[in-house]
Amino acid sequence: MMKNDGGVRLFWLLLLFLLYTRGKSYSVPGKPTLTRCRSPEKETFTCWWEPGSDGGLPTTYKLFYRKEGSEKEYQCTDYHTGGKNSCFFNKNDTSIWVNYNITVVATNALGQALSDPLNIDVYYIVEPNPPENLKVTIQNDKGWPFLRASWDPPTKADTRSGWITLIYELRIKLEEEDEWEIHHVGQQKVFNIFGLQSEGTYVIQIRCKPDHGFWSEWSEDVQVVVPNYFPNKRSTWVLVMVFSGMVFLILSWLLHINSRNLKHCILPPVPGPKIKGFDQKLHKSGKSVDAFKSLDVPDFPHHTFSKSEDLLVEYIEVYVPEEQELMLEKSNNLHNGCLKSENSVSDCDSGRGSCDSHTLLLDKSGQQTDTQESQTDEQRHGEALQGENLAYTHQDMVSPDMSAGRVKTWPSVFSPLPQNRSTEDQTSSLEIAKQHCLSDSLLPSDFLTPYHSPPGHCTREHLGSNYWEFDFGNKRPHLTQPQTEVCHQIQAHSEININTGVKAEPAAQKFPTPRSNEYVEVQRINEEDSVVLRPVASNYDKLFEMQQGEDYSRVKGVDSDSVLLLLQKEAMEEEMNMCSCEQLTDTTDAHYTTFATSPEKPTACTHPTPQPLEERVVNGYVDTATMFTMPPY
């Protein structure tokens, strides 16, 4: 007995010693945990658990389950197929739409532990295998490649009988990228991918899912290289070219639309003459006296204003060139010193364009540089006379040929008033202000128009300081009134004249029968108080003579019977030699044939011994300056 006691004590001491030296403690196993159960095809399923601490002792795990509707407890038969800590339920043990109550029991030498039960319905734990046989091919769609991916469902899943319905999902990315592009495919097993990068390497994966279940794992990578179908560099260049071409087109279209405005900006037109202090509105209203009063100069003889006929007349030589063009010339002498150069500077108070003097005096010879000066003055003044009907067309630059001085376009009858340089000019400008540009008179009888038209009716192209600065070509100034047609025609002629070097086609204007003569003489005065002119044959040489004021008669004035008083040649010469500015006020230098609609009497030239031409018809030349209506007084 003593030995037995000693043996048992020794045994326990040894055991305790062993336990102490090993540092371990044995205990009941820890509670296992059922992690998940999955079915790959809705016919079998597997459950896995996580073991707890084993308590230091060998522990065994057993899975028990109960099926819905029966209390019978079953035990798992297959612990190996699913790997460690798993239980595989085969087809016979698997029932769909049946609730399973599963429990895992861990047992060791010291005890056992039960896991929490897990309730599952196999229908809702289906996680299929990934799709198989993923193939990606490169197809061509009119030169543009695309990828076609095709695959098969996992072999275990029975989709053919309709037992499982799978939907697929595809993802693709470039090899070097990190982000995937996911495409939901649906139930089909083929999918096309467009919008590929040239010479790119793509990686494609696919996965599937049943109606109510879990997504499968992604399949294996499939790599595909897209061929080089469109060189990127070239495409960029093409894009750049196309874009720039469009921009260019748009810009040019804009330019074209705004060409006129641009021209105005870049080459501003030379403004026409304008009389300082001249009130246009007042003038329009008819009270010329008041209008001109502002221009009045104290020391200027006023008696000229008392009479409305105190108009400065400037004779203008009318040439009817061979080409049936009417040419008007102005006497050189009238404008000595008072005229500006042809390229006169625009005056400061540039207003509208000059008077619409269609009585353009065209100088073919180009010798009339002097007279051009006067023309500029006249024009400028005449412009001021015009009402707002003046169509100030911004003339484009004259062709270089023109500026050479070959062409001279004489304005309507203008008193050769200079610019506002001298005080004397002001008065004279007054006179001019009264004048209106009427060029109709220059036309042959067919084209005569009554001069009742208000001032400025012949607002043809204005002539700025440069007569030749009018619209040669295609531009037709705005015609304010019907009568302007006539003026147009005249102008067209002058255009032709000016464009001696240029074959500018006049507008299809009807002109009288071509006459070789260049001058027009007053034939008669018709009922409408229009001067009927007819061209008179003359030599071309006479043109120059006329310019010098030799062969034309200056209209002195209009008497009470509305008769043109024309001065004799000698008298005119004298007058012409005088400064037109001063004498204009005396009306001696009023070298214009006023076509008075009302019995207005322009002051006759007190100057030399004129022989007023009482006849209605003048033998010889009548420098019928551009007629213009008298301002109504």
Partner: protein, 227 residues
């Protein structure tokens, strides 16, 4: 001229509408006994019915999840629930082999039985939800939709059966499927004792059964159209 143009335009519009109406009014019918046409129309019918059942199951699934969140029964009840389904008396195949072993007529009968069995219970379920103030209007509307769908699906399946009988695919052993009395007998009034959550649980399962059986039927009868 404007009037004329307007009238012409109106006339054209009317013509177009009329032609369209004609097309819409008359469904494509198979004439002269074209076999292919009939099969195609049967396949279409099946597809429609399957889609309908899928939608029904989806709604029941949503409602069940909602109930689980807000009206979670105690854990003790989880396992107990399934035994109380009033349709448990209907023998339904619980596996693929079992389902495939069943004749098409049997399978169809099962489907119909299930649909008939859930007609009334779902209506009452909706009524109880509507009067339950704790339940949102959204859920109540869903239950109503569910109830309607059951009836619609039943009519659809009956149409399919008629079509199959016409085509000779199915024999006439389906007897009194038209009358619901023969189908209702097994399932008496057990469902009235069930709680809402249990009803939902049971219906969710049964709707998935219906959908699955219909798919099996389709792939058995008209396999070449998307199986």
């Amino acid at each position: 001229m404007m009037l004329a143009a307007c009238s012409v335009w109106l006339l054209l519009v009317c013509l177009v509408l009329y032609s369209r109406l004609k097309v819409a009014a008359s469904a494509p019918t198979c004439t002269n006994g074209q076999a292919g046409c009939h099969v195609l129309s049967l396949a279409n019918l099946f597809d429609r019915v399957i889609q309908h059942s899928a939608r029904m199951h989806g709604i029941s699934n949503d409602l069940h999840s909602e109930f689980e969140l807000y009206f979670l029964p105690s854990k003790n009840q989880i396992g107990r629930v399934s035994r109380n389904c009033h349709t448990s008396t209907i023998l339904t195949p619980n596996g693929k082999e079992n389902a495939q072993r069943m004749a098409r007529e049997e399978l169809t009968e099962v489907i119909l039985k299930l649909l008939v069995a859930w007609g009334d219970p779902l209506w009452h379920f909706h009524q109880s939800l509507a009067h339950n103030h704790e339940v949102s209007n959204f859920s109540s509307n869903k239950s109503l939709e569910m109830s309607d769908m059951v009836h619609e699906l039943r009519k659809g399946v009956q149409k399919v059966i008629e079509k199959m009988k016409m085509l000779g695919i199915m024999g006439n052993s389906l007897g009194g499927l038209g009358s619901s009395e023969s189908l209702l007998a097994p399932v008496s009034a057990e469902w009235r004792l069930m709680k809402d959550y249990d009803l939902l649980y049971c219906f969710r399962r049964d709707s998935s059964k219906i959908q699955n059986y219909l798919k099996i039927l389709k792939c058995r009868i008209v396999p070449e159209h998307g199986c």
